[in-house]
Every structure is written in structure tokens, then in C-alpha cells.
Subunit: 253 residues, 2 copies
DNA sequence: GAGTGGTCTAGACCACCGT
DNA sequence: CGGTGGTCTAGACCACTCT
């Protein structure tokens, strides 16, 4: 027992790799630069490609890298701050809110949404699909669920389908007085449809923002928005902005 | 070219596995139940263990499963809603805010935090460590950075270290008038220290909530809180609560 | 077609938990 | 101690993008 064990806590190789790569990214690479391919990198570090990939995956999760099949791995820019919650409540579609209506269908919402809306489990609602673009890149996809009772004056005739109908639904919403809204954020993975819209592979990590809009004493609409977790930093709160921070390892003790 | 291609878009095995497992979880398992071990499951589905693990990883990310080394894989309960942003701004430590002070040290903050606080890059600040527990489970770990100028009356004598000193710092904060706060949420991975406190392995996905507290016309304190992404749903907003929703695959079209 | 990242395999050993 | 999930290897093939 007299030997000083230098390797008493052997940290996993991929973890150490991640640390080394992080330092390299901070010092030797600039945003947009492309890294050597995975096979070369793995050989250079003397590990299997799967091990290297485990490190790259985490770095991508943390928004440090961007990987694209058929192209390569590049150094990602700092995350974009996107405003999600603000003190001034407003209906979606009001005074252009950074979202762009895409189309509108009518269908039965998922069970969880139906619970929020207090509609029958098999009652159809309007579903407005919108997308959010920042700096030319898609950052979020949204499904807005609006029961027919929230837009009674909506005429099925003047906008039968597509983006025009989406705008019609949003326009009708403004006629109600918004009494409040509640939001939640959780981690999810992109479904096939969202992945396509976000230009990612299915299963990519997303931040799911669920918003309930209250009007006339009930939940008048529900929005489920999925933001790219790799590129987005969601900002809430009243005053200024919250800046970037890159804290690879926080504190020693 | 006359053949109808049924397999024109062969989805990955792990993706299909995830779908099958999700349905099984919804119908055949109850919360807390333990699944067969990974080797058995892989054999049952006729895939390699690595492939099965890829599916399990995603399900854990979505909060459907909980895996613990040496124990097994269990069905996770629905995510806990934890209140993070509220309209009534209050200093940390006020009117017991669900956080428990752990200890307090003095050190130079990370560069990003120093930027927020507008302190010199090598100026030491008070660092209060707090933890948040819900239903007996640790859900978040926080580092609260307080520059000395925000707590001028703090005496180094009456609470030299530990939780007592942490409480002393929090007490002094209440003396300022809080003018506002701004928050951001982003995805991260747990460092060694946070992982230990959250009872997870290093690298586990976390939701990083950064809060700036404004007082006396400047940023008087910065809090960086890491929440377990697998078990937590962060709630913001003014009125009620946002309920659970499990939407494995959202919409077909 | 050449080169990239994404998926998959069939093993092996390790770290941890319970008994 | 036996059983679990966590790490790692050295290959193979596939899907995609660019030229």
C-alpha cells in the first residue's frame, strides 16, 4: 500500500479526449474551420473511431461542433440567443413575432395537448405549423393547437388551406383578450418531421417549449415549439440579454 | 423500375427499436418496473448490444427510462415540473426558495461570469454552492457568484466557511433592491462536480439556467444552475402549471 | 467516384451494486 | 461474488454530399 496510485481514478478515454479537444478548439481553431475526418483523428489519438465519436457527440451536444454527413466536422459558432418568454404577453402572430406561418391543417391533437385544451380526446382542432429562422438558419419548428371554439368567426371558405389559412387562424386569435401564459422547457429528441424542418437528423436533441395561452378563463391555445438544442440558447426574463458563457469544467473542488 | 419499393426508406434499426420500446413502455410496463438486462434485450430483438444501447440512450434522454450501473434499467416516472422563472422577482435565499445552501468559497469566477459581473478577470468573488431537492431526489446544483461589492457589510469573521457563510452572503443580498433579472436556458453536460451532486455520471445531459440579478444599475450577482435534463421540466410563466405531455412522434404528414 | 459522417456487429474488459 | 450498465476495440457497410 505504499505505492502512490497516480491512476487511482482512471477517467474514461472519451472524457479525456473531450477535454483535449475542447482546449484545442479554444486555442487552435476558429469558427467554421473544418476538423480532420474521424478516421484520421481517431488514429492520431490512438483510439477506435467509436471512442472518438463519443467525444465528438458530447462536444456537438454542447454546441462546440457541428457535424454533417457527407461534409465533415466544423467548429460551431457560439449559440444564438433566442427570446422565448417575455413579460409582455402576446398572441402568436401579433406584431410579427419572429415566426413564419407555414401551413394549417385540422386534426385530432395528441392526448397531452387535448388535456391542456380540455377538448374531447377525439375532437379536431386547427393545427398551425410555423417555423422560426435566425441568421438564415432554421432554429425552431412549432405546432400551434387552436380549438375551433377559440376562433368562432373563422370561415372555412376564405382560406381553405396552406399559409393563408394559417394567417387567418392567427388573425382570429387576436380578437380575444390574452389573460396570461405559462411555459415549460424540457429536453426531447426531434421527430422525423421536426428533424427535416430543422435540417438535422431524426433524434437530434431539441429543447421543447410548451406554451399555454389563457383567455376567457380557459386554455385557448397550446403551442409546442422545438428548438435546436445544439445551436440555441433560450432567453427569458424582463430586461437585457444574457451573454454567452463557455464553461467546459466548472470549478475544481 | 416497375417494382414497388417497400423498403425505399429503411429507417435505422435503433430508431425502429426505440419506437417498439416506447410502445411497450406505454402499454406493458408501469413506473419503476425493471426491464430485462441489455444483453437479454439485445438478443431478444436480434441486434448487437451497442445498437440496443443507442435506443436506450435516446429513451433515457427523453425521460422515459432510468439506467443505473450495477442495478439495471427501470421505467422512469413522468418528469417533475420545477419552477424556475416567476414574475415576482426575488433574491436567492428569500422566503425559502427551494434551494439549500451547501457551502461558500472565494475564488476567481469563469471568464463568462466575470463578464456579466463586470469584475476584473482575476478578481475574486464569493461563490455560494446550493442544491435543490424535490421528492427526495436532487434535481439541480447551483453556483451563485456574488462580488464583494454586492455584500459590503459581510463580515469575514462571523461565518468563516461552510453553509453558515453561505447563508450570511444570501442574507446580505436581501438588503439591496432587486431591479430585475434575466434568464437563459441551454443544453449542457454535467461536469464532474455537478454529476456527483446530481447522482449521475459525468457528461449526463443537463439544462443550464443562467440568471443575472440586476441591482443598483448593474449586475449584482449571477447564478448558474444545472438541472437534470432527464428528470426535470422547467416551468416559467405567470399563472398555473403546464402539465406533462408524452409525444413520442409528433404528427405524421 | 471519392470522401465524409452514420449505423452496425461481436466480441472484450471495467466499475459499480447488491447479496 | 455474480449481475448490471459503462467503456472500448477493429473491423464492415450504408447514406449522403461534393466534384
Amino acid at each position: 500500500m505504499g505505492t502512490t496510485q497516480l491512476e487511482s481514478v482512471p477517467e474514461p478515454k472519451y472524457w479525456h479526449l473531450k477535454t483535449v479537444l475542447t482546449e484545442a478548439l479554444d486555442s487552435e481553431f476558429s469558427v467554421g474551420e473544418i476538423l480532420p475526418n474521424e478516421r484520421d483523428l481517431a488514429a492520431r489519438f490512438g483510439v477506435a473511431r467509436a471512442t472518438l465519436r463519443q467525444a465528438l457527440e458530447q462536444l456537438e451536444l454542447e454546441g462546440r461542433l457541428q457535424r454533417r454527413r457527407g461534409v465533415g466536422t466544423t467548429v460551431a459558432p457560439p449559440r444564438v440567443g433566442v427570446a422565448v418568454g417575455s413579460e409582455q404577453h402576446a398572441w402568436p402572430g401579433a406584431a410579427d413575432d419572429a415566426w413564419q406561418p407555414v401551413d394549417c391543417t385540422t386534426a385530432v391533437p395528441p392526448a397531452g395537448v387535448a388535456d391542456h385544451l380540455e377538448t374531447d380526446p377525439d375532437e379536431q382542432v386547427h393545427i398551425v405549423r410555423r417555423s422560426r429562422v435566425t441568421h438564415g438558419q432554421p432554429v425552431a419548428a412549432e405546432l400551434l393547437y387552436v380549438p375551433g371554439s377559440s376562433v368562432p368567426a373563422l370561415s372555412a371558405i376564405d382560406a381553405p388551406s396552406g399559409a393563408a389559412r394559417a394567417r387567418a387562424v392567427l388573425r382570429e386569435l387576436q380578437h380575444m383578450e390574452l389573460e396570461g401564459q405559462a411555459q415549460s422547457v424540457e429536453l426531447g429528441s426531434a421527430g422525423a418531421a421536426d428533424a427535416k424542418e430543422l435540417d438535422r437528423l431524426p433524434g437530434a436533441p431539441v429543447l421543447v417549449v410548451t406554451t399555454r395561452f389563457y383567455a376567457e378563463g380557459r386554455t385557448a391555445a397550446v403551442s409546442v415549439a422545438t428548438y435546436r438544442a445544439d445551436t440555441c440558447r433560450l432567453t427569458f426574463g424582463d430586461s437585457g440579454r444574457v451573454e454567452i458563457h463557455h464553461d467546459p469544467e466548472r470549478r475544481a473542488s
